[in-house]
Symmetry: C2
Subunit: 229 residues, 2 copies
């Protein structure tokens, strides 16, 4: 597992990216917050350090620089920015990198509802990401269903993370990182194409949150103990 290898969170100044950075910094990971704006990234990194303690290893960089500095990438941008950012970062992404995509194609991105999704030609935002990364970069889909608000708090999170990938290494990367978030159980969800369902679940949870005023998550029940990491 990456322990000493830095993890770049691209688009990491948004609520989901900040929450993941906080949890992983607390778990001892080396985190690079990526942003379009290097200064904003550095401010976000300082913010994470404040919350996670002086020993936390968190820095901030412009997204391309973050890609150059890390082979482990996590993408947490709104869907409407995903393709543009990946095309822009293509020259900066190192050969052999692994990318975890957490993008959900919410209709809110085009002025619609956050409880509805857009159809993505490739089947899912994660599959779009897989098409846009340089050859040889492997992609896993994960972390769609974690409440950003809960991630940015201090409590254990009552939610499972399902990981979908066609690559064993990327899958393992995501499963391990998921297991570092207190309360979270990581579950191998099979092929990357299944990401479309994880993405839809986010829209369902958004709808439930609006209707019931909560911070919804999901647990998968009924699997044998060895299915949960």
């Amino acid at each position: 597992m990456p322990d000493s290898r830095p993890i770049a969170i691209l688009g990491g100044t948004g609520p989901a990216g900040m929450g993941l950075a906080l949890r992983w910094a607390r778990a001892g990971e080396t985190i690079i917050i990526g942003s379009r704006d290097a200064q904003r990234a550095q401010e976000a990194a300082a913010n994470i350090k404040n919350k996670s303690g002086d020993n936390a290893r968190v820095s901030g960089m412009e997204n391309s620089a973050a890609c150059s500095a890390a082979g482990l990438l996590v993408l947490t941008v709104p869907f409407e920015g995903q393709a543009t950012l990946l095309k822009q970062l293509k020259p900066a992404i190192r050969a052999g990198s692994m990318l975890i995509d957490a993008t959900v194609a919410l209709a809110a991105g085009v002025g619609g509802r956050a409880s509805r999704t857009l159809g993505v030609w490739q089947g899912s935002a994660a599959q779009q990401a897989a098409e846009l990364v340089p050859k040889g970069v492997s992609v896993a889909a994960a972390f769609h269903n974690l409440s950003a608000e809960l991630l940015n708090g201090d409590q254990a999170i009552d939610c499972d993370v399902i990981v979908c990938s066609d690559d064993a290494g990327a899958s393992q990367f995501a499963l391990t990182l998921a297991g570092k978030i207190p309360g979270v159980r990581a579950i191998d969800g099979g092929k990357l194409e299944n990401a479309r369902i994880l993405e839809q679940i986010t829209a369902l949870l958004v709808g439930l949150n609006i209707r019931h005023k909560g911070h919804g998550g999901i647990r998968i029940t009924g699997l044998p103990p060895e299915a949960y990491r």
Copy 2:
């Protein structure tokens, strides 16, 4: 709640229908098992009675007769039979009936995988059902994600049932019936259009069951107590 009003389970001799019938018969509901074949329906009803005790009120009828005898309908057929059955039953369905649809458009229905779904023009199998029932019949989507094998057992079920409907009455009918299955919590999932996500979750669970050898279900976490019935 319907307590004394009979509930017809159409296509009720399949594993899901039998499991629901068993659980509701045990909860004191009056159940009519519907099937293409009246004799098969009666055998299934006898089977349920055997498992749920002599006081159970369970009978079996041909599907059309079941519709004529009950205003509360639950549809548990494979997707590939859904539209044909609803068209056939249209004259038999009573005005003002409520229908709960549990159909999932698994690709297995056309020779594909049960871990993948087919696209349904209306958005979901439940919305297709809503288009095919007689005017004035209200539709709710529910019970997609309960393991048929667990339903046919004796244990409480570690799974939530999310109910989607555009009609308050149909929604209440489904929420109340869900709450009668030991272990199950019922959650209002909003409009019928959201059924597409419930249907997709079934495919995800099928995939997880194959991969991890389990009987997967889902729990929604993080909502306030009053969201769970």
